[in-house]
């Protein structure tokens, strides 16, 4: 059928769609705007062999179809990686993601059915209220029953199943009074229809289901953004590795089959799947994922290499010392798993409200029943009144109170460049009293910047720029950016050669030029050099002396301002870093932080958070490295810059774009305002009940009153949530100015 070709593949799993065509999914977390969509689709579309490429921005996934045999999913992911996007192919069915999508579709279908039923039954009810009588009224009631009953059975399932599982474990949640109200309203209305009475609540029951499902869909949308951090960490590990046999032949094996003692080959740009030791080759190793330090380490035969390290410049062979569950990466995954379990015990504000509310409603209904039975002795009257109480107190507004505010808050933060992954995280953020910052990449920009250069001629600068542009080494790129920013023009450089771990060599203006380490440029090792000095690059033009460029990781522009703003809001601010004392001391002084710790391991960081929680504090952790991930997962609330290691970004509740740290204060302000609005909403809903319950108890809750009161309270709560939109647009200050690909992506200069 023609329409089948237009629809997207419903299963992202690899499946042969037509003869010779294969399909697959790649997760690309860095996609965040129209530019990225266009770029990714253009790159893939221009690749021979790829027949279809479509980006899903919501899921951050690309579904691709290609002619089998010419390519495979890993090769397509590599194309995206070389374009500067972190990319992870999804091997096999993507179960968790499919389940979330199925749940969303089920809820939206239920919402649509409830909406259809509510609209149509309400039209019929208006006819009844405006004076339909006798046979006509009965007919309208019967038609209503015909629409409403199946709709309630279908649309009520999410509530019924949740209430059933709560009751099975002897708990009360918000879904218990909801289910009770829906079932009793439907059953009583059917009974009233059969006996030809006036009081039929089909419209109220349908509307109830519709409003509550709206809240449920909003809530699900929020939760869909949050993914399991642990799952992503496992996914970070490469799925395959190239094993070098003793004879020198290479073969590809699944990463889980690697064992200590094997030798594997790691090409530039690849991530190490295991802990190991370099046996052959030299390269620069990017360990930013593991230590949070942006400066690459030199790797030579004998150097240790940790799982998760990215090989930057040269091909190397590694002897495996630890694989799988024994690697440092797996240890961090275990720490995070433990942290997530601890955090799952946090009780959402709506659930806390339900614990008080549900028993109250049931007691009120029971009292109404007992009271009317005692007063009038009429079973039927007592029962209908009690059911009317249940219907009118059904927590319609309560069900909307939290999701409506959170969706508006998230929309507002999103416009300011802050992505909220988790509604509960937003609630917890409002409660924090201590902020812990990581240093590299969080308080600082995380990338080295050219700080000072020795005296040198314009020609030398031009040669340095020309040479630096040829490398993907972070310092070379920082040098190129720094020199270009100072107005230098690149000189043409030929015969460029890169010696991994040492530097670059080329010919400029007829003379040999070297750019790289101190030793590479023939300078003696300077033992007097202090820790204080940052990384450096040397330049030597044949015949001349070596000249030095130094680099420094600079503070984010508004770091000091943000620290002061947080202190002004009454929060304690700490700096916890894995770096050396001198650097941490300097950065803390520049940012105005008096409480700082240095040399902290990931375990230490997590311990500090635990200790603070033990002392009754609530911690907001702001960090970007893999070494921060356990602390991020453990903290009461957590934020990460979008440049963070994928895993830190996944562990964090909120992720902010752009170079400004002001996003932290902005998010905190929105979270606190959202909390205030949620409380107001609860007050509104409670006030409505104070008014409505007496009316219902006295027996005046006619279907018309129930319908009007219910929609009025829901609209009031939603309107109150929308107030968050107005207000001062302080979050706008954090508008993204630059977008960096996630750490781990290797971008071309």
């Amino acid at each position: 059928m023609a329409t089948d070709r237009l629809t997207l593949p419903t299963s992202p799993a690899v499946a042969g769609a037509s003869a010779g065509e294969e399909r697959g999914t790649i997760i690309v977390p860095g996609i965040h705007c129209a530019g990225c969509i266009a770029r990714v689709e253009r790159i893939l579309g221009a690749t021979p062999g790829i027949t279809h490429a479509r980006v899903n921005l919501t899921d951050k996934r690309v579904s691709v179809a290609w002619r089998g045999g010419e390519l495979d999913l890993e090769a397509i992911a590599d194309i995206l990686r070389s374009a500067g996007y972190a990319a992870r192919p999804v091997a096999g069915p993507d179960a968790a993601h499919d389940a979330a999508r199925e749940e969303r579709r089920r809820l939206v279908r239920a919402l649509a059915v409830a909406g259809f039923a509510a609209g149509n039954v309400m039209l019929l009810s208006v006819s009844v209220w405006s004076g339909a009588e006798h046979a006509t009224r009965d007919l309208l009631h019967w038609i209503s029953a015909l629409i409403a009953l199946p709709a309630i059975v279908y649309a009520g399932r999410p509530f019924f199943s949740s209430a059933a599982s709560a009751l099975a474990s002897w708990r009360l949640n918000m879904d218990v009074p909801i289910s009770l109200a829906l079932i009793l309203a439907a059953a009583m209305s059917l009974h009233e229809t059969v006996i030809g009475s006036e009081r039929v609540y089909f419209d109220a029951a349908c509307m109830l289901a519709f409003f509550l499902l709206t809240g449920r869909v909003l809530d699900q949308m929020m939760r869909a953004r949050a993914r399991s951090a642990v799952g992503e960490l496992v996914a970070l590990q490469p799925a395959t590795a190239q094993v070098v046999d003793p004879g020198g032949a290479r073969r590809t094996v699944p990463a889980e089959d690697l064992r200590a003692g094997m030798t594997i080959f790691l090409a530039p740009g690849q991530r190490a799947p295991v802990d190991g030791r370099i046996t052959t080759g030299r390269s620069d190793l990017d360990q930013s994922l593991i230590t949070g330090e942006a400066e690459p380490r030199r790797g030579r035969p004998g150097s240790a290499i940790a799982a998760g390290t990215i090989n930057l410049t040269g091909p190397i062979e590694i002897e495996v010392t630890a694989a799988g569950a024994e690697t440092g990466l797996a240890e961090i995954a275990r720490l995070m798993e433990a942290a997530e379990n601890a955090r799952a015990r946090y009780l959402r504000i709506a659930d806390r409200a339900a614990r008080i509310y549900a028993p109250l409603v049931h007691i009120a209904a029971l009292l109404a029943f007992a009271g009317w039975l005692a007063a009038s002795g009429d079973w039927h009257l007592a029962l209908t009144t009690a059911i009317a109480v249940l219907i009118i107190t059904c927590p319609c507004a309560l069900g909307l109170a939290v999701p409506a505010v959170q969706v508006v808050a998230c929309g507002r933060l999103f416009a300011g460049g802050v992505m909220v992954k988790n509604g509960a995280g937003l609630e917890r953020l409002a409660e924090v009293d201590t902020v812990i910052f990581d240093k590299t990449g969080t308080l600082t920009r995380g990338a080295p910047e050219l700080a000072a250069t020795d005296e040198m001629a314009a020609g030398a600068l031009a040669a340095a720029l020309g040479l630096a542009r040829e490398s993907r080494h972070p310092l070379a790129r920082a040098l190129a950016a720094g020199l270009a920013g100072r107005g230098a023009l690149p000189a043409p450089v030929t015969h460029v050669r890169e010696e991994p771990g040492l530097g670059l060599e080329g010919m400029a203006g007829g003379r040999a030029v070297r750019l790289g380490s101190r030793a590479w440029c023939g300078e003696a090792d300077d033992r007097t050099q202090t820790d204080e000095a940052g990384p450096e690059i040397w330049l030597r033009i044949a015949g001349g002396p070596a000249r030095r460029f130094t680099f420094r990781d600079r503070l984010r522009a508004d770091a000091g301002e943000t620290v002061a703003a947080l202190a002004a809001r009454g929060l304690a601010v700490m700096l916890v870093s894995g770096d050396r004392e001198a650097t941490v001391r300097r950065i803390a002084a520049e940012a105005g932080i008096t409480d700082f710790r240095w040399g902290q391991t990931p375990q230490d960081k997590a311990q500090i958070v635990t200790a603070l929680h033990g002392a009754g504090h609530r911690v907001l952790m702001v960090g970007d490295g893999l070494n921060d991930a356990p602390a991020l997962a453990l903290a009461h609330a957590s934020m990460a810059p979008s440049s963070a290691a994928d895993i830190a970004g996944t562990a964090a509740d909120l992720v902010f774009l752009g170079g400004r740290l002001g996003a932290v204060t902005a998010a905190l302000d929105v979270a606190r305002r959202a909390r205030r609005l949620v409380r107001q909403n609860f007050a509104l809903a409670g006030g409505y009940n104070l008014l409505a319950v007496p009316i219902a108890v006295v027996g005046l809750a006619s279907p018309l009153v129930a319908a009007v009161a219910m929609s009025a309270s829901s609209i009031a709560v939603t309107a109150n949530a929308l107030r968050l939109r107005a207000g001062r647009p302080q979050a706008r200050a954090a508008r993204p100015v630059e977008a960096r690909p996630a750490a781990g992506a290797v971008a071309r200069p």
Partner: protein, 62 residues
């Protein structure tokens, strides 16, 4: 009156059901799978039907 009831109520319900069916179809065919993407795609200049232009470097590194 009865004619109106017998004609208009089924007509109203039928139209509503038609809308519901259309929505279900849209949901099933994946039109709501990427609402954020749909909002952003309108900003992309390239016309999907236009011949594929030569790969253009827009200067950004990612």
């Amino acid at each position: 009156m009865n004619v109106l009831l017998l004609l208009l109520i089924p007509a109203a319900l039928g139209l509503g059901a038609l809308g519901l069916a259309a929505f279900f179809w849209a949901l099933r065919s994946g039109q709501f799978d990427d609402v954020d993407g749909a909002a952003e795609r309108i900003l992309i200049e390239d016309d999907d039907d236009a011949p594929v232009p030569a790969p253009r470097r827009d200067g950004e590194t990612g």
